[in-house]
Every structure is written in C-alpha cells, then in structure tokens.
C-alpha cells in the first residue's frame, strides 16, 4: 500500500519524511490534488493539447474581432479589421518606416539606459560600500524617487526643451532609480559568513569587495538592470508620446491624430513585440548567470 502511494506521480517534490514516521500516520483519505492519471494511449493527445491550448484564447479574440467588424458591431473607425492592421504592419515593414522609427527608439532607450545604469551602479555601489555616503545621499535620493518620471516631464521640458537631451535625461532617470536601489541592496546583503572567512584570511577591503561582495551581488544587480530596462522602455514610450518627431511612440501619436487606428494598433503590436523580445533576452542571460549558483539571490543573503 505504502509503495503504491509513493509511486503516485507527484506534482511537486515531496519532502522526504522518515520512513517509520509515514507508517505510523493514520490512513488519511487521499485526495489527488490534480487529475494526473492520463491513459497511455492519449499521451500524444495531451501533448497536442498542451501546445494548442495557449493559442485558443488569441484565436477566439481574433475571431471575435473579425466578426465584430464584419457584422458592423463596431465601426471600422473605432476598431479596424485585423486584415487591415496586418496590411499596415507589412506596409510599415516594406517601406522601411518601421526600421527608421524603431531604430530611433532603440537608440534613445539604449543610450538613456546606459547613462542611467552607469549612474545607478556608481551611486548604489558608493552608498553600499560607505555608510557615510549612504547617510548623506540616501534620504535625498528617496525623496526624489517619490516623484514619478511623468511629474519630472514638465520640469525637464522647461529646462531642456523638446530636443533629444530631454529624452535621454528622462529615460536615464527612469533607469537610475531601480538600478541604484538594487545595487545598494546587493551590496548590503553580502554573505556575512563569507566576509568573516575573508577577514580570517586577512583580505584587504579591496580584496573582499572584489572577491566576495561583487560575485554575491551579481544576481540582485542583474535584477536591478532588468527592472531598469523595463522602466526605461516604459518611459521611452511616454516621452515619445509627448514630444517627438520620430520613434515608435511617435507612430502611435501620429496614427491617433490622423485617426488611423490601424497604424496605432500596428505600432502597439511592435512595441509589445520589442518588449517581449527584451524580456526573453534578459530571461536567457539571467538563467545563464544563475547557472551553477546555489539558489537565487535570496539564498545567498
């Protein structure tokens, strides 16, 4: 009986209980958490289902969208038919407009992010390594962080004008905040035990920073960079919506002004796709970084 119980497929790793302990428990009514008994013959069908199920909802939505426009539930002006959006998207790609605007956006976000990331890492490291710097800077930093990027926008608009510097400054600001905070946290949560070992070996301050604190800080640091890039991408769209003459955000505003919703939707799709690509890229790098590490950042602290 006990054997049959342990052979049952577990949806999660069961903690190893001492053998005799298990035997002494009263016979609990076993309720399967989920139905997992799939007959062998329908294994292929289950596999098929696993791959097709995610596409069901998008297809239904697309069908509804198509039907809604076809039957005239909604006017074409409010919701252009999917084929039309697809047409606009392929036009954008073939005419090269998409690349020009996407490149302009990418350049802004990458430069702004690089600027923000360098400031954030330096600031975070300075505060993380020196108590004095932290005491002087952190309260002011925390106060400024409370003001969201969008509230800085009018201020920056007045100070920098509508040119490119405005975009770089705002994107950099958006990226700096999470990167600074994560760097600070990463430096603070350096493993105490390892630092102790370092002290026992007579490490200099520099040696313990490079050899112990930095390697332990990498995952948290990376989380900060990732968050920073997401924020930078978010504020890029905002800045381009408000003030720009090229870029993906500009395409959206332009389409809105001309009431060409197909253009708006095509641009939104591109923005989403780029966001997804970036997210996947970060996911990949993060997994490579964490390979061979004992657990995630939390386990190290």
């Amino acid at each position: 009986m006990a054997r049959a119980q342990t052979a049952r497929p577990e949806p999660y790793a069961a903690p190893a209980l001492p053998r005799d302990n298990v035997k002494r428990l009263p016979p609990a009514p076993i309720r399967p958490v989920r139905k997992v008994e799939i007959p062998r013959t329908s294994q292929g069908f289950a596999n098929l289902r696993r791959y097709t199920e995610p596409w069901l909802l998008p297809l239904v939505l697309l069908g509804l969208w198509y039907l809604g426009v076809e039957r005239g539930w909604l006017s074409e002006q409010v919701l252009p038919p999917p084929a039309y959006v697809y047409q606009t998207l392929s036009d954008l790609i073939t005419s090269g407009d998409l690349w020009i605007n996407a490149l302009a956006s990418m350049q802004r976000v990458v430069l702004g992010f690089a600027l923000g990331a360098s400031i954030g890492v330096v600031l975070g490291a300075a505060m993380g390594l020196s108590r004095t710097v932290e005491d002087y800077l952190l309260p002011t930093f925390n106060a400024l962080v409370q003001i969201p990027v969008l509230a800085w926008l009018p201020f920056a608009l007045l100070v920098f004008g509508i040119g490119e510097p405005l975009k770089y400054v705002l994107i950099a600001k958006a990226a700096t905040v999470p990167i600074t905070l994560c760097t600070l946290q990463a430096f603070h949560q350096a493993p105490k035990g390892l630092l102790e070992v370092g002290r026992a070996y007579g490490f200099s301050r520099w040696q313990s920073v490079v050899g112990i604190v930095l390697p332990a800080a990498v995952p948290t640091l990376f989380t900060g960079l990732r968050l920073g890039f997401t924020k930078a991408w978010l504020s890029l769209v905002v800045v381009e919506l408000v003030a720009s003459s090229e870029g993906l955000g500009y395409l959206i505003v332009y389409g809105r002004q001309l009431f060409q919703l197909d253009l708006v939707m095509a641009a939104v799709v591109v923005v989403g796709a780029v966001g997804l690509l970036i997210d996947r890229g970060f996911d990949y790098v993060e997994r490579r970084l964490n390979r061979g590490r004992p657990g995630t950042a939390g386990a190290l602290s």
Binding site: P15, A28, E53, L56, T140, L144, F155, L241, G255, G272
Partner: protein, 261 residues
C-alpha cells in the same frame, strides 16, 4: 576619515539634511545673485508664495480630490479584477495554460502605449482615465498573486493533504495565507503604478481637472514655481499612499501571524 567613525547615531540622522539644505542654499544664491538671466530660475520664496496661494485656493483641493478619486476607483477596479484573475491563474493549471501565455504577451505592451487606443474607445473623460488606471493596477496584482499561489511551500501542502483537507480548505487555510506577502507586494506595486498612471492619464488625456493638469498649466505658461509645487505635491501624495499601504500591510500580517518582510 577616522573622525567619521566616531559619530553617534544621533548625528547620523542629521546627515540626510545636509544635501537638501545645501541644494536649497545654492538655489537661493543662484536666483538672488542673478547667475542666470533665464526666467525659469525662480527663487525659493516665489515657490513658497505660489505654494501658499495654491494651498489656500479651492481649485487646488478640488484638483487633488479629483485625482485621488480617480486613482482610488481605478485602483479598486484594477485590483479586484487582478485578484480574481491572479487566483484563477495561480490555482487552476487548466486556466493557466489557456490564458497564461496570452496574458504574458499582453503585459509586455508598454502601459502608456494603450493611451491612444483608450482615448479612441472611451473618449477623454473620467471613464477613459479610470479604465487606464485599472489596467495599470491590474498587471502587477495578477503577476504577484499568481506567483504567490504557485510558490506555496510544498511541505505545507503535504501537511494539508495528510490532514485530509479538501481542495477548498487547502486554498483558504493554507495557500492564501502563504501567498499573502506576495499578494501584498502586488497590491503595493499596483498602488504605486496607479498613482503614476493617474498623472500619466491626466497628462496625456488632457481634460477635466486634476493635479496633473495643474502641472501642465504651469508648464504651458512657463511658470516654474507652479511646476515645482505640483511636483512636490505629487511626490508627497505618492509617499503618503505608500505609507498607508505599509501600515495596512503590517496590520494584515499581524492578523495572520506572518513575520513582516
């Protein structure tokens, strides 16, 4: 540096004030010595006077109330929908397979990219703003609720099974309390995002009144004092919302006997 080591914790608390006070002093000097002829360099006193004028005026309080009402209604709609969706995603494998990938793609679309579409679908009024705010609050709540329910420690579930808990009992008695900290993180983020989105909605869907519109007024009339005042107010409101959320979180945690994060 050796002198610094001996500072008492009392004097360390004042160090945080050094930078802001120095900045204000330099600002004051700059505006009074006429280092810059730009009309944008307003003096600190002018900002203080503007702030006083605004605080004593009815219009300002109406704007704040309008913004807060919008913010909170969007927050409540968004978080309630988000909690339902997050629970479904976190508890049902089947639902997760059906909706999860679509939702993950959907959330990649930059929040503000929705504004032009929302403005066509819902107009520029309060409906559009609240719809946008709900969207802003929805995403973090769904993500964190779902994550929290998924990462319930397996040994807790094992105990529940040993005691013969029904599925419903397991959810109410084990999974929800264990997921509570993560759910709170989601709510917390939703509050931050919805305040950001309130400003964004007022900024990009210009109509009606709100603190974001005060900001735009200042920007359009080149009144730096008004811009600075509105920025400070936005920061203060955001900070108070955060503080409020933290107090609620601690209350709830004590209620459930969970160690604070």
């Amino acid at each position: 540096m050796s002198a610094v080591i001996a500072v008492s914790p009392g004097s360390r608390r004042y160090r945080g004030w050094v930078l802001p006070i120095a900045a204000i002093a330099i600002w004051w000097l700059a505006s009074h010595q006429g280092w810059s002829q730009s009309g944008l360099l307003v003096s600190p006193e002018k900002v203080a006077v503007t702030a006083w004028e605004q605080i004593t005026s009815d219009k300002f309080w109406r704007a704040i109330c309008a913004s807060l009402t919008r913010n909170l209604s969007g927050f409540f709609i968004g978080t309630s929908l988000g909690l339902v969706l997050g629970c479904l995603l976190g508890l049902s494998r089947h639902f997760e397979r059906l909706v999860g990938p679509s939702f993950n793609t959907f959330k990649q679309i930059s929040l503000f990219a929705w504004i032009p579409l929302i403005s066509v679908w819902f107009g520029l009024g309060d409906v559009a703003k609240v719809a946008f705010l709900s969207l802003a609050a929805l995403v973090p709540v769904v993500v964190n609720t779902c994550d929290g329910l998924r990462s319930v420690p397996p040994n807790l579930l094992e105990v529940a099974r040993v005691y013969g808990f029904s599925r419903w009992q397991t959810i109410i008695g084990v999974m929800l309390p264990a997921a509570l900290p993560s759910i709170f993180t989601g709510l917390y983020l939703a509050l931050v995002y919805s305040w950001l989105a309130t400003i964004g909605a007022e900024y990009l869907l210009v109509s009606g009144e709100g603190i974001g519109n005060t900001l735009i007024d200042g920007s359009e009339h080149f009144m730096m004092d008004l811009v600075l005042f509105a920025m400070v107010v936005i920061g203060l409101v955001g900070w108070s919302l955060n503080a409020l959320a933290r107090v609620c979180e601690r209350r709830m945690q004590r209620l459930y006997g969970i160690a604070p994060r």
